[in-house]
Subunit: 107 residues, 2 copies
């Protein structure tokens, strides 16, 4: 792929059931990832936006975690219902979605 | 983790044997990832550098691919023997390792 304008990493870490840290996959990250790929496909912006799954991004208790570079913006508690807004406001429009931003103590 | 100064993504994509695209995992990405984690541990710079595995970054034929943000620098053909240099020169020193940079046609 060409170097993207923005690159989204969706934490897809899994852990065994009852693991004390839980995991983003347990919190629904697979559906979040599919939503990002679906919104990417709808908009056809493959030359501008990249979507990649990743390993653990840290704050498992507030997953699903989604990280956007080059800004280094971390979103917590992302659900499939948030993805279109992140796409339009931030990835294309350049304006992060304030209500989902990780607090300073986390990131 | 706190927001890092630099964030390394090591492609760890796997594909079945004989898949036409091959994969970074087939090209040794597990050892590359372990080397990054090992060098991170040696230097104890957990507050500055993050190392995360990721899904496919694109140019599978020149893997193992390693991507560094916020610069958006992509390295191709990375082996465990390259990792200490990437760490010291780029991740800590801020100077990318020119000999491993993806060419403009790739990224």
């Amino acid at each position: 792929m060409p170097k993207p304008l923005r690159h989204v990493f969706v934490c897809s870490q899994s852990r065994p059931p009852n693991h004390p840290r839980g995991s983003c996959q347990q919190k629904g990250s697979t559906d979040v990832l599919q939503s990002f790929w679906s919104e990417l496909q709808k908009r056809g912006v493959y030359d501008k936006i990249a979507v990649t799954y990743s390993g653990c991004l840290g704050p498992c208790d507030v997953g699903t975690n989604v990280l956007v570079y080059p800004e280094g913006v971390l979103y917590n508690n992302v659900t499939p219902g948030d993805v279109a807004e992140i796409f339009d406001s931030h990835l294309i429009g350049g304006e992060p979605v304030a209500r989902l931003l990780a607090p300073g103590a986390v990131w």
